[in-house]
């Protein structure tokens, strides 16, 4: 229906030529609902105005509407197209309506322009539409300045609909409105959109996900990613899309908010190559030289040289066997890690939760390359780390760092702060003495410690627990790693120091752009920090998924239990529902069978595999039952009713 091809819009300003849109291509089929999201300044509104033929800059490329080239049209033709074919609900800035005419008059105006003289018909249509959008008759004759923001927005929608257009463009239809008005408007627009083609432009992701089925992400005038709205917003492929989603708070967001590092680029002197590369965590040299093209991917399209967010660290079917003394001096074995698999993506925070003894630390050591697994493989950017040799192995050590559980043990008490932080640089042979001192001071500055000579010459036992932990973080970051594995970094600290430490880690993760694998036994904490959560039980990953999903709908009974037992300030003594049942045959069936309140006979026989379920993965035969239970949750029902 609408076919935009290589659209380029530039404005001449006194600062120079501003490139607002750059080779934007977008197709909209009849009846489709498409959204465009992006930060303010990304060119969303300019795109809408170009489609309406209202943009004031130089426009190149082509916009075809049902095969007709719109850019060739003259002003006379436009009037027909604008009212009968394409219509736009403008962003309500409070100045969209003329304050000297009543609302009804202004809604009638577009109709009268196309059908001059048909005043009676115009009145009927307009009052019907105004009623339909939820306005009362006493609003009809009101002047715009006496109406509230939501009422004006409704009026604008009615105005856009009066000529019954085929394509409706909604520019920020709900921003600056309160939640309830927004919910009502979304419902209204959803109804209207049933038999129309709509293009929604918004930075409000919750509006976009409710109104559209397909979405394009616009950044600095270029489309970065397109795809089905739901999967794009839940599992974004482009680093920018992910950053955008991460910065958006929703009701189910449990993680602390994180902005996008860096500043929005200047449009006068746009960055060379990929516009996002200065803020991207996985940028290569190529990204700063060559602009990536929008390439078709599975369900959408993606403009990224690296093919979207890359997988940094991947462990597959990891098993680590330890000997243990058995009965009568016999040597028996037990698996501390028993078939666990983990995937860590570029620039994300993955939190691993589990009770003590579940194999978290062993898994961390395996992934960090300091404890060879008995079975299974660990890949760092598609290279098996335990088979690397020489130079390559040394390079890996530079990019993969681990923070140990106990900072006191992880440092040599004979070395001063300066020697401690410099050690990795010295081992790797990076720089000379002077640049290393500079590096040490920078790293200490990152973690908020002084770089003066007095502090540099302190011994570990002269530092507080929090300070020492920071020193170990500085030591891990001094080589600017891509992956940081943090093993219970705050377990030994009190709540206030812990809060500072985790804020610091999250801040550093965002600014430095490394991927963080955080191990903790505290699910509440994991929720605050992690983009994704993995739950470990007896050496296996039993559930994994986006933090908000896992917290809202735990699919594994063990996760549910951990959630119930997460710290709270309620007086009630927790009633731990751990049952212990005996299995007919030891070593078979679900590892959680003994404690599981939902288990069936199947669970005692067969071990459940880790299966995809929506955006989560869970290893449970009874996940479906648990899901149903969640849906019956009265609290959730209530919320659903409101929306």
């Amino acid at each position: 229906m609408l076919d935009i091809n290589n659209l380029k819009v530039t404005f001449d300003t006194r600062m120079g030529e501003v490139n607002v849109l750059n080779q934007v291509s977008l197709k909209i089929a009849p009846g489709e609902r498409v959204g465009i999201i992006g930060e303010s300044g990304s060119g969303k509104t300019t795109l809408a105005l170009s489609i309406m033929g209202l943009v004031q800059g130089q426009v190149q490329g082509s916009i075809k509407y049902r095969g007709e080239e719109l850019l060739d049209k003259r002003e006379e033709d436009w009037e027909k197209i604008r009212s009968k074919k394409i219509s736009m609900v403008f962003q309500n800035t409070g100045e969209m309506l003329n304050p000297v005419y009543t609302l009804l008059d202004q809604v009638m105006e577009p109709y009268l322009k196309v059908n001059p003289g048909k005043k009676k018909e115009a009145f009927n249509r307009a009052s019907n539409l105004l009623k339909k959008v939820g306005l009362r008759e006493d609003h009809f004759y009101a002047y715009p300045f006496t109406l509230s923001g939501g009422e004006v927005q409704r009026g604008l929608i009615a105005m856009a609909l009066i000529n019954d257009p085929e394509l409706l463009i909604l520019d920020e239809p709900t921003s600056a409105l309160d939640a309830l008005t927004r919910a009502e408007l979304i419902r209204l627009l959803d109804e209207i959109a049933q038999n129309k083609t709509i293009l929604v432009i918004s930075h409000d992701l919750s509006t976009v996900i409710k109104l559209t089925r397909r979405t394009a992400v616009l950044y600095a005038g270029s489309i970065m990613e397109t795809g089905p709205t739901e999967s794009l917003l839940r599992e974004p492929k482009h680093p920018y899309s992910r950053a955008l989603v991460r910065a958006y708070p929703t009701r189910t967001t449990v993680k602390d908010l994180q902005g996008i590092r860096g500043e929005f680029p200047s449009l006068v002197e746009p960055p060379s190559g990929c516009p996002f590369h200065p803020r991207c965590t996985q940028a290569l040299e190529k990204c700063s030289q060559e602009k990536p093209c929008l390439v078709e991917a599975e369900e959408g399209a993606l403009a990224c040289h690296r093919g979207g967010i890359i997988t940094l660290l991947r462990g597959e079917n990891l098993v680590r066997r330890f000997p243990r003394q058995g009965k009568e001096g016999k040597e028996i074995y037990f698996n501390a890690v028993d078939g666990a698999g983990v995937t860590l993506k570029e620039g994300e925070i993955l939190a691993l939760v589990g009770e003590s003894g579940s194999g978290k630390t062993t898994l961390a050591h395996i992934l960090a390359g300091i404890n060879q697994p008995t079975e299974g493989k660990v890949y760092f950017q598609d290279r098996e780390i335990y088979s690397l040799k020489g130079r390559e192995k040394k390079d890996l050590r530079r990019r993969l760092q681990i923070l140990f559980q106990n900072p006191q043990e992880a440092v040599s008490h004979r070395m001063m702060v300066h020697d401690l932080v410099e050690e990795p640089l010295e081992i790797q042979g990076i720089g000379d003495k002077e640049t290393r001192v500079q590096g040490v001071k920078e790293a200490l500055g990152l973690v908020g410690l002084p770089g003066d000579s007095f502090f540099l010459h302190k011994y570990p036992h002269e530092l507080s627990g929090g300070e020492l932990q920071r020193v170990t973080i500085a030591r891990a970051l001094v080589m600017k790693p891509k992956v940081l594995i943090a093993d219970e970094p705050s377990a030994s600290l009190d709540a206030s120091v812990q809060a500072k430490m985790l804020k610091l880690l999250m801040h550093l993760q965002n600014e430095q752009g490394f991927a963080l694998f955080l191990i903790t036994h505290d699910l509440a904490l994991a929720g605050k920090v992690g983009d994704r959560v993995a739950v470990m039980f007896l050496g296996k990953i039993v559930e994994e998924g986006p933090t908000s999903e896992v917290f809202r709908f735990p699919l594994h009974p063990y996760t549910e239990l951990l959630l119930d037992m997460a710290p709270s300030l309620e007086r009630e003594v927790p009633s731990l529902r751990r049952t212990v049942k005996l299995k007919e045959e030891e070593g078979k069936g679900c590892p959680y069978y003994a404690h599981c309140p939902y288990s069936t006979e199947l669970c005692s026989r067969e071990e459940p595999p880790l299966k995809e379920k929506g955006f989560q993965r869970v290893a449970c035969h009874r996940a479906a039952a648990l899901e149903k239970k969640n849906n019956n949750n009265s609290y959730y029902k209530e919320i659903k009713k409101v929306l």
Binding site: A368, G369, E409, S412, I427, E462
Partner: protein, 284 residues
């Protein structure tokens, strides 16, 4: 925790006494040519002259000044003691590290070697070897070094085994450090306390061994050694000469051993947490 040996040693009463005793010995050894009233190798007069103003401790059976002999003997004692202590500790350290880091087979071989060495009667072998080689100072040093390393190696190996599991070593290897770096930068510094104690104890043992061997006459007769003096004096035990000839070297040997033993005791008690009464940290 971080321990400053020097401060610890000075703070300990016994350590202080031991330090003073040993420093006097070292000073005497260094200043021997200035302190000795006569050349101890030169015939001075009538043999077995009793003490007089000229010869404070008298003359020996071939007319040499006994006091000067004692002063020069300090040099031999310290030279042998310190050299053997240093070399045998180095051997202990090397073998201990090899055993602890070299894998199971290397460990077994070295452990068995230590066991064998420990059951050998050191003194007997020393006598046999010494008779065969006609020992000078260098031979004695080499021989004692080769005989005295096993106990140190055993202790150091045990300590290395526990130290190598420390997490800061794992941290260093996670930064890409090789074995050499870890040994040099982390393991050996961590072994310093034990090495120091071992060194002091070895000096003590060597002084005793050297005196014993010389007493049996197994030492280069041209050297001045306290043990050798006792050896010659013991033949004149029935004359009154023992009072100024036999007794002084015996007392000096005891003095030296006590001096080192006190230092060793003080160090051990400051390094072993169970023996420490109140812990003093540096800096606070």
């Amino acid at each position: 925790m971080h321990i400053n040996y020097w401060t610890e040693l000075k703070r300990n009463k016994f350590g202080r006494i031991g330090l003073i005793m040993v420093s006097i010995l070292v000073l005497v050894a260094l200043a021997a040519p200035f302190l000795a009233p006569h050349n101890p190798w030169v015939y001075q007069g009538q043999p077995l002259t009793p003490p007089s103003e000229e010869y404070i401790l008298g003359l020996n059976d071939i007319g040499q000044d006994i006091l000067s002999e004692l002063i020069y003997g300090t040099r031999t004692t310290l030279l042998v003691g310190v050299s053997v202590a240093v070399f045998s500790t180095l051997i202990s350290l090397a073998l201990a590290l090899a055993a602890a880091l070299g894998g199971r087979i290397v460990d077994r071989i070295i452990l068995r070697l230590i066991d064998i060495m420990l059951i050998l009667p050191v003194f007997l072998i020393a006598i046999l070897v010494a008779i065969y080689f006609k020992p000078g100072v260098v031979t004695i040093i080499i021989m004692l070094t080769l005989l005295l390393w096993p106990p140190g190696a055993r202790i150091l190996r045990a300590q290395t085994l526990s130290l190598k599991e420390r997490q800061h070593l794992t941290a260093a290897s996670s930064f890409g450090a090789g074995k050499g770096y870890i040994v040099y930068r982390h393991l050996i510094p961590d072994l310093y306390p034990l090495l120091t104690v071992n060194l002091i104890q070895m000096v003590r043992r060597t002084v005793f061994m050297e005196a014993g061997l010389a007493f049996l006459g197994i030492f280069d007769p041209t050297q001045k050694s306290w043990g050798l003096m006792i050896h010659y004096a013991s033949e004149f035990i029935f004359t009154g000469a023992w009072k100024w000839w036999l007794l002084p070297p015996g007392l000096l040997i005891s003095y030296t051993i006590i001096g080192f033993a006190l230092i060793g005791y003080a160090l051990e008690s400051s390094l072993d947490p169970r023996l420490r009464r109140n812990i003093h940290y540096v800096g606070h």
